[in-house]
C-alpha cells in the first residue's frame, strides 16, 4: 500500500463522509427538535436515490438539477408524515413511536422492492469517470461536486436556523416545548416543518449519493443504521456533530476498507457505535440528553 493510494482513499472517504454528514444532519435535526427517532431515514434516502434514477431515465435529468424538485417533494412528504402520522404519537411511549417508524421503513423498503426489484440501478453521467489531478492525488469530480453540494446545503440549514425567524422559532420549540406553546408558537406546524426540512436534507443527500454508489432497496436499512452511527458518534442533537461524525465515519470506513476486507468496513462502524454508546453516549459534540 503506497502513501499515494492511502491519501487518495482518505480524500475519497472524506468527501463521501460529507454526504453521510448531510444525511445524518437531517436525522439530527429531526431528533433534536421533534424528539422522534426516524427509523425510516435511510429508506427515505433510498427513495430519493430511486427518484433520481427514474428522473434520469425518463428525462436525462442530471441529479444536480433533480435535487430541487426531489427535495421539494420530500419536504412536502416529510411535513405530511409528521403532521398526519407521527404527531398523535408524541405522547405515546418511546417504543411505540419507534415501532411506528419501523413499520413505515418496512413498507418503504419492500415497496421499493416491489416496484424496482432487487437488482442494482445506477446513473451514468460523463463526469463520474473524470477526476481532478493535484500532483499524484486523484480527486473524483463527481465526489467533489457532491461534497460541495452537501456543504452548501448544510450551510443553508445553519443559516436557516440561526438567521430566520422560523428557524429561531423551531429552536425555541426544541429548547422548551411548553414555553413555546405559552408564547403562542404553533408547535405542531413547526414540528411538521422541521420534519420536512430534515426530509429535504436527506433527499439532497440521496441525490448526491446516487452519483457515488449503485442503488438497491436493501440500502435503506443499511443507511438508516449508518445515519444513527454517524449521529450518535457526532452527538445527537448537534448539527456540527452530524457533519463531523459523517466525515469521521467516511474516513474510517475508507481506511478499514483499505486495511481489512472491503466488506468488513461497516463492521468497523458498528464497533465504533458500540464503543460510543458505552463510553460517551452524548457523542463527540452532543449535550447530555
Amino acid at each position: 500500500m503506497t502513501w499515494d493510494l492511502a491519501v487518495n482513499v482518505l480524500i475519497s472517504g472524506f468527501l463521501t463522509g460529507m454526504v453521510y454528514g448531510l444525511m445524518a444532519l437531517g436525522l439530527s435535526v429531526i431528533f433534536g427538535v421533534v424528539r422522534v427517532v426516524n427509523f425510516a431515514h435511510g429508506e427515505m434516502m433510498t427513495i430519493a436515490m430511486y427518484a433520481c434514477v427514474v428522473l434520469f431515465a425518463a428525462f436525462k435529468l442530471d441529479p444536480f438539477l433533480a435535487v430541487l424538485p426531489v427535495a421539494a417533494a420530500f419536504f412536502i412528504f416529510g411535513y405530511a408524515l409528521q403532521a398526519g402520522l407521527i404527531n398523535p404519537f408524541i405522547t405515546r411511549p418511546e417504543h411505540s413511536q419507534f415501532m411506528l417508524l419501523v413499520a413505515v421503513a418496512i413498507i418503504m423498503v419492500n415497496g421499493l422492492l416491489m416496484i424496482f426489484g432487487p437488482d442494482a440501478r445506477n446513473i451514468q453521467v460523463a463526469y463520474q469517470l473524470e477526476s481532478f489531478e493535484l500532483g499524484s492525488l486523484l480527486i473524483d469530480k463527481a465526489r467533489l461536486y457532491a461534497a460541495g453540494v452537501a456543504v452548501l446545503t448544510a450551510g443553508l440549514l445553519f443559516a436557516f436556523f440561526r438567521l430566520t425567524l422560523t428557524g429561531k422559532a423551531i429552536r425555541a420549540c426544541a429548547d422548551n416545548h411548553l414555553g413555546a406553546l405559552v408564547v403562542g408558537l404553533n408547535v405542531k406546524h413547526l414540528y411538521a416543518l422541521t420534519f420536512g426540512v430534515g426530509a429535504a436534507c436527506v433527499a439532497v443527500a440521496g441525490c448526491m449519493m446516487v452519483l457515488l454508489v449503485d442503488v438497491t432497496p436493501s440500502l435503506g436499512p443499511a443507511y438508516t443504521l449508518l445515519a444513527f452511527v454517524t449521529v450518535i458518534v457526532g452527538g445527537l442533537g448537534s448539527m456540527p456533530g452530524a457533519l463531523v461524525g459523517g466525515i469521521l465515519i467516511g474516513v474510517s470506513e475508507a481506511l478499514a476498507g483499505l486495511l481489512f476486507a472491503p466488506s468488513a468496513k461497516s463492521m468497523f462502524s458498528f464497533g465504533l457505535l458500540i464503543l460510543v454508546l458505552l463510553l460517551r453516549p452524548q457523542g463527540l459534540l452532543g449535550k447530555r440528553a
Partner: protein, 323 residues
C-alpha cells in the same frame, strides 16, 4: 385463567396435537413455521414484555445458537442434545455481556435498541468472514434419511420437527406463565412500570434485568438450534439479518407485548394472512418479492396506531376469556 379460557386452550392443544394426521406436508410446514415464530416471539417477550427492554437484534441469539450447535455437529460430529447446551451457554454469555454493558452504563430505550442492532450487525458481518463456520457461503449440515426418526441426531420426518417445536412452544408458554405469577413476574413488571419506585421497594433492578435478558437469550438459543437442524443450512446474511429480528418481534407486538398468548396469536395471524396473500397472488400468476413484507409493515402500522396493546387483550375481553 377462567374455565372458558382453559377449555379453549385444551381444545386448541388437542387440535394441534392431532394436526399431522390431517395435514399435508405444506400445511405442516406452515404450522411448524408459525410455532417457530410463536416460540421465538415468546422468548423475546420475556425481555421486552416482562422487563421492558426493547431488543431489535434478537436474530443474534438465533444465529449464535444455531451456529454453535451446527458447528459442533459439523466439525466434531457432536449431536444436537449436547450441542444445545453449548448454544444456550454461549447465548447466555452474549446476552449477559450486552445486558451488563447496557445496564451498567445506563443505556436504555432507543439507545439500548440501537446497541442490540449494532451487536447483531457486527456479528453478521463477522460470521460472513468466519470461514471455519462456512463464511458467507453458508454452513451445510449433512441430512441423512428423512423417513425414520433418529431422535439421537434429531433427524426424521417433518412431523417429528412439528412435535418438537410444539413441545418447545408449550414449554415456553408454561415457563412464562409460571414466571409471570412468581416473584420474578411482579418484579419485572414493577421495573417496567417505574424503575426508580421499584428500587425504593428493595428490588435490585440490575440483577433482575440481567435475569430477563439471560432467560430470553437462552430460550432464543434453543430456537436457533431447532432452526439449524430443521433447515440444515445457515447463512449469516439470512439468520443474523435485521429483517429476521423484526420478524421475531412482529408476533408479540401485534398479538400483545407482555401477555401470554399474544406472541402466539400474533405469529399465527401474521403467517396465515401472509401466506394467504402469497397464495392469492400465485393464483393470478404473480410472484412479487416484497409483497409479504409490505403486508407485515401495514399490519404493524395499523396495530401500533390503533391497538397499541395488541390484538389479544381485545379478543380476550370480547370472548370473555380474561379474568
Amino acid at each position: 385463567m377462567n374455565r372458558r379460557a382453559a377449555l379453549l386452550l385444551g381444545l386448541l392443544g388437542v387440535a394441534l396435537v392431532l394436526l399431522p394426521m390431517f395435514a399435508n406436508s405444506y400445511v405442516l410446514s406452515v404450522a411448524t413455521l408459525i410455532l417457530f415464530f410463536a416460540f421465538t416471539g415468546q422468548a423475546w417477550n420475556v425481555m421486552m414484555g416482562f422487563a421492558g427492554q426493547l431488543s431489535l437484534g434478537h436474530s443474534l441469539y438465533v444465529g449464535v445458537g444455531a451456529y454453535a450447535a451446527a458447528g459442533l455437529f459439523f466439525h466434531y460430529g457432536i449431536g444436537v442434545w449436547a450441542g444445545v447446551w453449548l448454544a444456550i451457554a454461549v447465548c447466555v454469555a452474549v446476552g449477559a455481556v450486552i445486558g451488563f454493558l447496557a445496564f451498567r452504563f445506563g443505556i436504555s430505550g432507543v439507545y439500548f435498541a440501537l446497541l442490540t442492532i449494532a451487536f447483531a450487525e457486527f456479528t453478521r458481518i463477522g460470521f460472513d468472514h468466519l470461514q471455519w463456520l462456512g463464511g458467507s457461503g453458508g454452513l451445510f449440515l449433512r441430512v441423512a434419511q428423512r423417513d425414520q426418526i433418529d431422535l439421537a441426531n434429531f433427524r426424521g420426518p417433518p412431523a417429528m420437527y412439528y412435535y418438537a417445536i410444539l413441545a418447545l412452544t408449550a414449554g415456553a408458554l408454561g415457563l412464562c406463565s409460571w414466571l409471570l405469577k412468581s416473584r420474578a413476574g411482579y418484579y419485572w413488571q414493577a421495573i417496567r412500570e417505574n424503575e426508580e419506585a421499584a428500587q425504593a421497594l428493595g428490588i435490585n433492578t440490575f440483577r433482575w434485568k440481567m435475569l430477563a435478558v439471560m432467560i430470553s437469550s437462552a430460550m432464543t438459543a434453543v430456537a436457533g438450534v431447532f432452526y439449524a437442524f430443521y433447515y440444515n443450512n445457515l447463512f449469516p446474511e439470512q439468520i443474523f439479518h435485521i429483517s429476521r429480528s423484526i420478524e421475531i418481534i412482529l408476533g408479540p407486538i401485534i398479538g400483545g407485548i407482555g401477555t401470554l398468548f399474544g406472541p402466539i396469536l400474533g405469529a399465527a395471524m401474521l403467517t396465515l394472512l401472509a401466506d394467504g396473500i402469497t397464495e392469492l397472488l400465485a393464483a393470478f400468476g404473480l410472484e412479487i418479492p416484497g409483497v409479504k413484507q409490505v403486508f407485515y409493515g401495514i399490519v404493524l402500522l395499523v396495530v401500533v396506531m390503533f391497538l397499541p396493546n395488541g390484538i389479544w387483550p381485545t379478543i380476550a375481553r370480547r370472548l370473555g376469556l380474561a379474568k
